[in-house]
Symmetry: none
Amino acid sequence: LPDEGRRSGTAGLILATGLELFAQKGYHGTSIRDIGVAMGLKPANLYEHFQSKEHLLAELVRLGHEAHHRALCTALLESLPGPLEQLKALVRAHVRLHGELAMLAVVAHTEIHVLSPELVAPAVALRQQSEALLVGVLARGQEQGLFDLPHPFVVGAAIGGMGVRVAHWYHEDLGLSIEQVADVHVELAVRMVSARPPTVPSSAAPGEEPGGERGGSR
Amino acid sequence: LPDEGRRSGTAGLILATGLELFAQKGYHGTSIRDIGVAMGLKPANLYEHFQSKEHLLAELVRLGHEAHHRALCTALLESLPGPLEQLKALVRAHVRLHGELAMLAVVAHTEIHVLSPELVAPAVALRQQSEALLVGVLARGQEQGLFDLPHPFVVGAAIGGMGVRVAHWYHEDLGLSIEQVADVHVELAVRMVSARPPTVPSSAAPGEEPGGERGGSR
Amino acid sequence: LPDEGRRSGTAGLILATGLELFAQKGYHGTSIRDIGVAMGLKPANLYEHFQSKEHLLAELVRLGHEAHHRALCTALLESLPGPLEQLKALVRAHVRLHGELAMLAVVAHTEIHVLSPELVAPAVALRQQSEALLVGVLARGQEQGLFDLPHPFVVGAAIGGMGVRVAHWYHEDLGLSIEQVADVHVELAVRMVSARPPTVPSSAAPGEEPGGERGGSR
Amino acid sequence: LPDEGRRSGTAGLILATGLELFAQKGYHGTSIRDIGVAMGLKPANLYEHFQSKEHLLAELVRLGHEAHHRALCTALLESLPGPLEQLKALVRAHVRLHGELAMLAVVAHTEIHVLSPELVAPAVALRQQSEALLVGVLARGQEQGLFDLPHPFVVGAAIGGMGVRVAHWYHEDLGLSIEQVADVHVELAVRMVSARPPTVPSSAAPGEEPGGERGGSR
DNA sequence: TATGAATGAGTCTTCATTCAT
DNA sequence: AATGAATGAAGACTCATTCAT
């Protein structure tokens, strides 16, 4: 599905069909025959183009991780300087990718564990690098006193996580462009790294909740 | 795994073993034989206690959704009044559940789609109610002018989503208590619904960011 | 089902239930569990009363053959003398048994082949004796010039066969008493062994059939 | 086995092997593995040619009923006119089919009940038509005063039934050609529908039968 | 007498894969 | 590049049977 991974003819069709079915029913829930009938080809034919079912998945997982990594890197390269801008760029790219290439993102994320160590290696390498990008930005933002992170690791996981989930719930019939969704997530991410004002004037207005909040934690 | 769903003897063992394997390898990736050997029982024995593999999954999915719904309801009932406190209570409960019952949460979430309509019905009903709790709190918060939500629906999805992801990355060897993780998420959620201060020095305004950031970009 | 084979309590219930299910779905098509649920007892309980499923069948098959043999012998003993009367008695008894003990007859006939040689022995012995009764009567009838048999063996098979089939099609809702059915079969058997009159006008000779027939052809 | 149902290659082999085993051990008593080893093929291969074991049976049952119906129709078409000739033609065809295609006839008759309603439908339709042929001929024969039927329905069942049984006892090593068997059955059927001569000399009257009876009774 | 749990063998069927064509 | 047939392994599930209770 990503432009770079597009393959010609039958191989591309297999890739696209496999992606759709894997996203829908899972790797183990999809048989080589399912893919065959969905394509109008016989199962045996798949082996002209991929060594095995697992290799087909490996290719998809690799494409997904590459697309993700590429999107983040590009975002960073094109970003204005500074941790905040970079964070915004990362979040935007992260969310857009999970909205636009939702099936690929889901498959790459969900089914990565079925791959054998050899086939999974490239993907995990990319994933770690991608994660490092966000971690790095957050770290620098905090070093520079621009971010106020309750806990850098957890905040990173949360920001990444809410983006990942977009692939599961976003779809075009929602009346929302993926750009709008990305905008919101950018705003949320910014808020997440920004210290709240002392809440001096009791932003919770209706009166006087002052005390309540204190004991709120259990 | 949740106290309420604990079953006696063999049935309970099957439930626990199935949960573990389903979480690890997926429903379709786990064979009835896998469960059998992991339990030290023969596969045939499973059918004394569950009608089918699917019914076993259905029970787990149901338990997961019930535990989740129960946790949210309890949190709300015990919360101090007011949308902000309720939001905090919901997020805390949501995160704790996804940390403490991680496997159940993952299975209930990931494998719900393989269930036939009949078996899935109770779970989807509960899920909708659970979602409605958060949506309701956010809506009231905004009505009362306490929250500033860029987009209520997306914010809800984001808050829910980051909690859901906790089940995928949190584990006890992380040097973090789940309570700490919940604390952070509560703080993050509060920030997500709170308007940022006017950003007086306009930290987001491009162009005039205070120098230091420049070197941060790669 | 036959009075002599009736057993007390549970054993009798198993026998009756097994008979019904074997007749309906066949031996291999009926599981020990089917019998259990149909009886309201647990399958394990069957083994208190029968060594195995096969022994249950063997008992039924034996009962069936015994009842049949007994019916034929009694008929012969109570018959007026003479091959014709004896034939009539045999046919009547044969048909009555297959109507009144239809399920037992069907099972004893149909499922006898699944029994191991040891268990089947008593039944085959009886069957041969029963067949011999009819064969003997036919032979004597022919010797004495009372019967005109196109082919003794085939006629015997035919007379026996039409009676056997009664067990498959007769049931009480048919508006026919089994006695009526037996009457008809007796009459048919008598005709089967009786030479036709010289067919004076030669009704079978092609070409000269008496008019009326012509319109009958389609 | 009937010429019309013969299939090429493997499918035909499966059909033939299945027929043999079903006839011998019954549908439920025959496993897909039995068929496989009898054919020298692996069980899985059967599913290349038939959807399921039940579909294989359904095909056999259908073939059997078609062959039977075809045989009866052809017989009627080629018959001389008139109920008596038609009866003779029907009986001859009926018997020949049950002798020549014995296994098919037995399976089609015995195992039809295991088929699901959908799969059984074509066969029952044919069966009803076949029965109607005989019933029709008998009815016309009686209307025209050619037949003397003690009870039309029962006579039909008896004539049909004795033919059906041929499939169970006839085999070539018997020293009888199937044609001979058919001849006998034709003669028997004719006798069955023909009024006995008034038995003027009272052949059944006890007492005055010519001698033989004396020693005949046991 | 009755039963719940347990089990090894066996059920039908689907799987991914190969190979000759 | 494509396919129909073939296959060994594995899939979920059922079977008749046992045994402690």
